[in-house]
């Protein structure tokens, strides 16, 4: 019931948001997302550490097809729900007041939040697919209506790209559905059983079908080419939603829907997938070296980070999976912070071009400090949020394949190179014409960034707070194979 309440509250807020007076649009959206955050925090704090689903609600939806509206939260879901509800208020609060058509914008964000949470709590294959596609609609409009100058073309590409991937997933889901016993069912456990009963060859093919859907969403090399353009062109909040939360849908899909369902498929393809992911880490990292546009640079760095998460998950051991979970949280928090900083810089100077920046630390020490802390999180310095995740991921991959682990480890060098370059060229040195009148953080901006900084350090110092929550569920997944 609690899960459905979460979804319904959000839906109600999203609809109501369309009708509140424009002046209160921002405040309304912010407060409603805060309410949702408070509610999910309550769920998190009272969450029993157990491998079972909690707060399960199960209603028959399309009886003749065995489709249920079945939702529930387990240790993995709760963390992602928390991530979503934690980031959304920050994303909403980060909106600059000058945005046109504000009410629609906020409602779309709230609506998207609902869809994302829906993805994380679905326990029915069909419902999962529905939420998966619903999540695409608001982000499509956010990018299309509030995006940059090439938005029409880029958004179309993004839309078709992701929906093409999703269709493969639909086919795979239906195939599995038809292999469930007589009274067909989309229930997750029925699909698990169906997937496991398939012969290895069929599993392997389905594995690739799922991979197309999830791999495109994350995105994993070489399915990533929609991403840098979309991140660059989307409005900042869109980019934050996409990179901070939406790409976690893909990773969550891997962990929840793809690998446990098709263990033989994993056994056959793990090596290949893992190398793809590792190649993506190095490839995207090296591309990030020479990017001039900050947003594009962080887009590529995001591909590299996600590549590492994917590699750890394909290694499919305790370290890899737990590392993947904790890294999802920290990556979400870091990128939202970084993209917001870019937004701040762009709104002050009118440019994101790194060579024309510089010397911002002279003018805005607070911004520079916050940027530095988040950057350290992104390059996985111990005691910041990036480290537990990267360490666990690299050791997970290393356990699976020594060489791949060593190659994946290069991310800590490559990441340091492009991050420090960016930091140096934007924050340090002498001021340029653009940054000469830079002003430091406003109260609003601090409100967004300080929670992020706190989380960066909290996850780094006390990762067990989160690892312990997901551990039983992960162990159950592992033992299920």
């Amino acid at each position: 019931m609690e899960t459905i309440a979460l979804l319904l509250i959000l839906f109600a807020f999203a609809v109501m948001g369309l009708f509140v007076p424009i002046r209160y649009g921002n405040r309304f959206a912010f407060i409603s997302s805060l309410i949702v955050f408070a509610y999910s925090l309550y769920l998190f704090l009272t969450f029993p550490i157990s491998a079972e689903y909690q707060y399960v609600a199960d209603y028959s939806w399309v009886q003749s097809l065995g489709i249920h509206f079945k939702v529930g939260i387990d240790g993995i879901s709760i963390l992602l729900v928390m991530l979503t509800t934690f980031l959304t208020p920050l994303i909403i609060f980060s909106v600059r007041k000058s945005e046109p058509r504000p009410r629609a914008f906020y409602s779309l964000i709230l609506f998207m939040e609902m869809a994302l949470i829906g993805v994380f709590v679905s326990m029915d294959g069909f419902l999962f697919y529905i939420f998966w596609e619903i999540a695409l609609i608001p982000i499509y409009f956010i990018c299309l209506l509030w995006g940059g100058k090439d938005r029409v073309k880029i958004t179309l590409k993004f839309f078709i790209y992701t929906i093409a991937g999703s269709l493969f997933m639909l086919v795979a889901l239906i195939y599995l559905y038809l292999h469930t016993p007589a009274q067909h069912s989309f229930d997750i456990s029925a699909l698990y059983a169906a997937g496991k009963s398939l012969d290895p060859h069929a599993q392997s093919i389905l594995f690739w079908f799922f991979f197309l859907a999830f791999g495109i969403k994350m995105p994993v090399f070489p399915l990533h080419t929609w991403q840098p353009d979309t991140y660059t062109d989307a409005p900042t909040q869109g980019t934050m939603m996409l990179s901070g939360i939406m790409l976690k849908m893909g990773i969550y899909g891997l962990i929840r829907w793809m690998i446990p369902m098709l263990p033989q498929g994993l056994a056959q393809n793990a090596e290949c997938m893992l190398w793809l992911a590792v190649a993506g880490i190095i490839y995207a990292g090296i591309i990030a070296f020479t990017q001039k546009d900050m947003k594009r640079l962080f887009a590529y760095s995001s591909i590299a980070h996600v590549g590492l998460i994917a590699a750890g998950i394909f290694a499919f051991n305790g370290q890899g999976l737990q590392g993947g979970i904790i890294q999802m949280l920290s990556h979400g928090i870091n990128v939202v912070g970084l993209f917001f900083i870019i937004d701040i810089i762009q709104s002050r100077t009118g440019t994101r071009n790194i060579p024309s920046l510089g010397g911002i630390r002279l003018k805005a020490p607070y911004l520079a400090t916050v940027f530095a802390i988040i950057m350290l999180g992104a390059i996985a310095l111990p005691l910041t949020d990036g480290f537990p995740g990267e360490f666990l991921l690299i050791s997970g991959v290393f356990k699976f394949n020594n060489i791949a682990g060593a190659v994946a480890g290069f991310t800590i060098i490559i990441g340091a190179v492009y991050m420090l370059r960016t930091y140096q060229n934007s924050m340090l040195g002498e001021t340029s014409v653009e940054t000469d009148n830079f002003t430091d953080l406003t109260m609003t901006e601090k409100t967004v960034l300080i929670p992020i900084v706190i989380m960066v350090i909290l996850i780094g110092v006390w990762p067990n707070l989160f690892l312990k929550v997901s551990e039983p569920a992960i162990m159950k997944l592992l033992s299920g194979i």
Partner: protein, 630 residues
């Protein structure tokens, strides 16, 4: 006492947090007193620990950190003789350098933030040496790297300083990757990264075990990065961009010795891997000679000292590689004294000359900076290895062990100390003797304030007498330090079964040879720079080939740029413009283009002629019927 020991790192952390958060709201002198006070408290606690240690080792558990299944790491501190010696060096020398900085940084606008960073550095350094597991050591390891980055680029308006900072961080990161992989291998092999689990288990392994060799080599890669050995040493000379107290504290006395600490700490593992030991010794001795040969021709007072640090670190690794663990730790200690003193002395000179660092523009400062001169002289004696100054005992112990292990190492070591003596006295003579070559009217050289000279004096005393804790038996001493460290290194030493054959007579003879060689090269320096009054050539002058090579640091930086940095940037452009945009995105767009092309073809069917449609329909139906009936 031990429960208080856990607090040692947290005082500097508190200092960092308070000063960092208050920043400019705090008056300068309050920030300075706070920072120094925190260090003093830590020092007193460390002293307490040191006094009570007496051989045994204790663990202090604080909190769990990361745990996944059987894998776990926690915040746990280890107190044993080795860590207590490092505690003393870090907090003691650290405190003196803090005090010195009060004077040195007094007029800097970012005075407070400087102290915050320094305190943070000390915190991480203490974590590094107190850690009871490799993973926690890695926390300190990376943390000190961060502080080094922050402090090298402290004056961040200057691009070349920022570049130096970035270079230091990235080079360290290369080493850190090795270290990290080593830790992961440790986890896989031993199921833990805690010393108290690994070391006892390791004793069950055969000497030369492949896994242990791999682990030790990977860990050593980390040490190469942090302790600036070939091929990752180039960051350290550039790191001199930071304020001089930073060079003294981080890039001479403490952080760069972290690699030595780590290898010494893992002594038992290295003892089981003769190959790794040989690699350590080889890289150490080659670096020692190589860096010393560069130092011979440098003209920047801090650069000379930087290369000298690289070279001295090489000696320490030589010591570790030949199994002289306690001698290396001893050298870490004496080196901390005299090298910190040299840097602080250099800082005092720079301070007195309003920022001048080129020794070609110095000379004759003996009279104007008497205290600095005297202390610098003491330090120079110490580093050159003249008895009875501290460097003599530690370096000769290393060389004696090298002799028993491999004669070639010893020969190279002696050549290195010959060069050391030469470049140090060259520096001393050019700076303090002769006549002043700078612009008298512009710069009024003056002695530094007391707050700077008192640390110098204390360090000078330590550099003089510091060696007496390790006087070898052959000279009638009792080698206290090696007995003190024995509990830590005993297992490793047992594994190696060193050929302790060298009699005390030959040890004395070896010392005699070294001292004679050193004195000869001091005489040469005297002859060149005092009698002949030679001054290094100005910038751009043609030098003899060998000198030129040394002066340009063998063009290593240029080679790295050409071989690594540039190609990577090119590769990046290639990936972006060709592979990503043309190839991968090309394929993606191709699917869109293909759809368009097909629709282009199909569009001719749509003639717009109703007649045609009807005809097509009829023919279609006819075909369907025809095939259906077939």
């Amino acid at each position: 006492m031990n429960q208080y020991a856990a607090l040692i790192p947290f005082f500097p952390l508190a200092g960092f947090v308070i000063i960092g958060l208050m920043n400019t709201k705090l008056p300068k002198n309050v920030a300075a007193i706070l920072a120094c006070g925190m260090l003093l408290i830590s020092f007193c606690l460390s002293l307490g620990v040191f006094m009570n240690i007496s051989g045994q080792s204790n663990e202090v558990q604080l909190a769990p950190w990361i745990s996944v299944g059987s894998f776990s790491a926690s915040f746990t501190f280890l107190l044993d003789p080795l860590s207590s010696i490092f505690l003393m060096i870090i907090t003691g020398v650290g405190f003196l350098i803090h005090v010195y900085s009060v004077g040195y940084m007094h007029d800097d606008e970012k005075h407070n933030i400087f102290f915050a960073y320094l305190n943070l550095f000390v915190f991480f350094m203490l974590i590094l040496v107190l850690a009871s597991s490799y993973l926690l050591m890695f926390v300190g390891w990376e943390g000190v790297g961060l502080c080094s980055y922050l402090l090298i680029g402290f004056w961040f308006k200057n691009k070349s300083y920022n570049d130096a900072a970035k270079k230091a961080f990235v080079m360290n990161r290369i080493g850190d990757l090795g270290f990290l992989l080593g830790i992961i291998l440790l986890f896989i092999t031993f199921g833990s990264s805690d010393y108290h689990i690994i070391f006892p288990k390791a004793q069950g392994f055969m000497s030369g075990d492949g896994m242990i060799t791999a682990i030790t080599l990977l860990l050593f890669v980390g040490a190469i990065g942090k302790s600036a050995q070939i091929p990752l040493y180039t960051w350290l000379p550039d790191a001199m961009a930071g304020p001089t107290p930073v060079s003294a504290l981080i890039h001479a006395a403490t952080m760069v010795t972290a690699g030595i600490y780590m290898v010494a700490r893992s002594g038992i593992l290295y003892a089981l891997a003769p190959v790794s030991m040989f690699v350590v010794a080889l890289i150490g001795v080659v670096t020692a000679v190589f860096a010393a040969s560069i130092a011979l021709t440098q003209n920047d007072i801090k650069k000379v000292l930087a290369y000298s640090t690289v070279s001295q670190l090489g000696y320490m690794f030589l010591g570790l590689g030949v199994g002289a663990f306690s001698a290396s730790v001893f050298h870490v200690m004496t080196h901390a004294f005299f090298k910190a003193l040299l840097f602080l002395g250099a800082g005092s000179v720079i301070h007195g000359l309003a920022g001048e660092q080129d020794i070609r523009n110095m000379g004759g400062l003996r009279k104007k900076l008497p205290i600095t001169f005297l202390t610098f002289l003491v330090a120079t004696f110490a580093i050159a290895g003249i008895p009875p100054f501290s460097g003599f005992f530690s370096k000769d112990e290393i060389l004696a062990h090298a002799f028993t292990s491999n004669k070639l190492f010893w020969v190279l070591g002696v050549i290195g100390s010959m060069m050391t003596a030469f470049y140090m006295f060259r520096l001393l003579f050019l700076t303090f003797y002769g006549t002043y070559r700078g612009n008298e009217h512009k710069v009024h050289a003056h002695e530094s304030p007391k707050v700077m000279t008192i640390p110098l004096i204390i360090l000078a005393i330590l550099s003089t007498i510091g060696g007496f804790v390790g006087v070898p038996e052959s000279l009638g001493g009792s080698s206290q330090i090696s007995h003190f460290l024995d509990p830590v290194f005993k297992p490793a030493q047992d594994k190696m079964m060193l050929l302790e054959g060298s009699s005390s007579v030959s040890e004395v003879a070896l010392m005699g040879i070294t001292v004679a060689v050193v004195l000869a090269s001091i005489l040469l320096a005297w002859y060149l720079y005092i009698s002949r009054k030679r001054v290094p050539a100005a910038e751009g002058a043609r030098l003899p080939a060998l000198q030129n090579l040394s002066y340009h640091k063998y063009y290593i930086d240029e080679i790295y740029t050409a071989l690594i940095t540039k190609p990577l940037d090119k590769l990046s452009e290639f990936f972006k413009n060709i592979v990503d945009n043309k190839l991968i995105d090309g394929i993606v767009n191709l699917s869109g283009k293909a759809t368009e092309a097909v629709s282009d073809l199909m569009r001719f069917v749509q003639t717009g002629n109703v007649d045609f449609y009807l005809l097509a329909m009829v023919i279609g139906i006819a075909c369907i019927l025809f095939f259906k009936l077939m």
